[in-house]
Amino acid sequence: MRPYTFAQARSVREALRGAGSDTAFLAGGTTLVDLMKLEVMTPERVVDINRLPLDGITLDRKGLHIGALERMSDVAADPAVRENYPMVAQALELSASAQLRNMASIGGNLLQRTRCGYFRDVSTPCNKREPGSGCSALEGVNRGHAVLGTSDDCIASHPSDLAVPLVALSTVVHLASARGTRSVPLDTFYTLPGSTPDVENVLRPNELITGITVPRSPWAAHSLYVKVRDRQSYEFALTSAAVALEVRGRTITNARVAAGGVGTRPWRLTAVERALTGRPATSATFEAAVVRAADGAQPREHNAFKPALLRRTLVRALTELQESR
């Protein structure tokens, strides 16, 4: 690990004082400490933000508000989350391990870095880690990589499970910097790799995530997260699906659908949502709606199974959700 100075901040203002591109905020540390050991992340200053008052899980007319420092395990166990946004709780419970969920924060989760093996290995070229050095994954081991939103410079998949239901639900991220506060929809918070895969989101170096708001969405109470992976637990997604359906009588009146494991960012599938809305909640509808879910996919040697697996994951999620009514 490279040397850095360490400080504990007690307020948002204190944390932001002097923060710049050489600074890393320490929340749970499950991404940061890991990547500092690998020297993939080499901050000169580490500011521990765990004493900041960025906690709290509250539900009100506007929706669900979660502080950036709430831990994955606490959010997953929260009764308001479980009842009103089950797919959020499920995505969290299907992430990592109990120990990691006790440590990892919601803000850190949204900022976790890709698990691309080349990104994590400083001895190999990687445009995300070292802009301009090349992408080892294009012709390398790319089984876990993305098929949607990729570029010639990077095909890394976004690893967060939580972010998948959150984009489906039009979640808003709250940010604070010395200049003030702003709120950004999670969907536009993440950027596509394009020719600058080192840039992953619109967060500025001197900016903190203070929390998120998941808008009130009554249909989210009828939602499900399905994760497909190489082993049953403690593993990242090959594909995943977050689905929420509002069904009146037999007709789908509202649908929210997003996918994980397939995109360079959490991938909202608005075309699938449109294809479901106004139709009967039947398997024929589900099958037809997902036909074009992976349109535009650019599979590589080892992940060519992903478009088909994505469609099946979506159908399974929709079917299981409908059967659970």
């Binding site: 690990m1 040397p3 850095y4 100075t5 360490f6 504990q8 007690r10 320490l26 749970g28 540390g29 499950t30 400490v33 890991d34 500092m36 050991k37 580490v46 521990d48 765990n50 004493r51 900041l52 008052p53 960025l54 906690d55 709290g56 508000h65 502080g67 831990r71 395990s73 606490d74 990592a96 391990s97 109990a98 120990q99 990691l100 006790n102 440590m103 203070t210 929390g211 049953q232 637990s233 403690y234």
Partner: protein, 208 residues
């Protein structure tokens, strides 16, 4: 958002505020510093190792107050093993992927290999050495012995620490499948899983 900084993460009944209270469990061999030594330590904090200031950590380890000067890069795992001579906590992957380094912080199971020692000030750390009550093994330790829940034993301290918090902090598992899922963060290279599950199933009856 709750402005009460102290509300913290000790959701398991062990609050940060009272970690120094209550009966101290057999004190581990730790470099407890007296007042003068503390002053020296504070002085040393301004000195540098690798060009950076060291950090003075005050925490409780297995019930005993500990004050120790650490490199900002030091993990809790290395600090326990190298500085506090508590070698029961094992280093498997050092990357958060195996669970061998599991300890409790404020009663919750966490990975000491991804925890910076510098961030543990004010917290209560419990390691496998702090589990037994004198010569009386913790029911989970006893169950691992009785069920032979190990082969090489390298993963065992982590398995036991993880299992104790699974039951005490999160609530007993209702089925073997649930034990397997909730213990999935602890890998056993020897694949002693069937007996680990047996041990946990039995121990949680006694622990209730």
């Amino acid at each position: 958002m709750n402005p009460d900084n102290d509300a913290g993460h000790g959701r398991s009944g062990v609050s940060r505020r009272n970690f120094l209270g209550g009966g101290l469990v057999a004190a581990a061999v730790t470099p407890l510093l007296n007042a003068t030594a503390e002053a020296e330590a504070a002085e040393a904090a301004s000195a540098t190792a690798d060009g950076v200031a060291q950090v003075l950590v005050r925490a409780a380890v297995n019930g005993a107050p500990v004050t120790v000067l650490v490199d900002p890069r030091a993990t809790l795992l290395d600090t326990l093993r190298e500085k506090l001579d508590l070698k029961g906590t094992k280093k498997g992957c050092d990357r958060g992927q195996c669970g061998a380094c599991t300890v409790h912080v404020d009663g919750r199971r966490v990975l000491s290999c991804l925890t910076l020692a510098a961030s543990t000030t004010g917290h209560e750390v419990t390691t496998i050495e702090g589990l037994a009550d004198g010569d009386r093994l913790h029911p989970m330790q006893q169950a691992f012995v009785e069920h032979d829940g190990l082969q090489c034993g390298f993963c065992t301290p982590g398995q036991i620490m993880s299992a104790v918090a699974m039951v005490d902090d999160e609530g007993p598992a209702r089925s073997d499948d649930e034990i397997r899922e909730r213990m999935s963060g602890n890998i056993c290279r020897c694949s002693a899983y069937p007996r680990i599950v047996d041990a946990i199933r039995d121990a949680q009856k006694v622990m209730r």
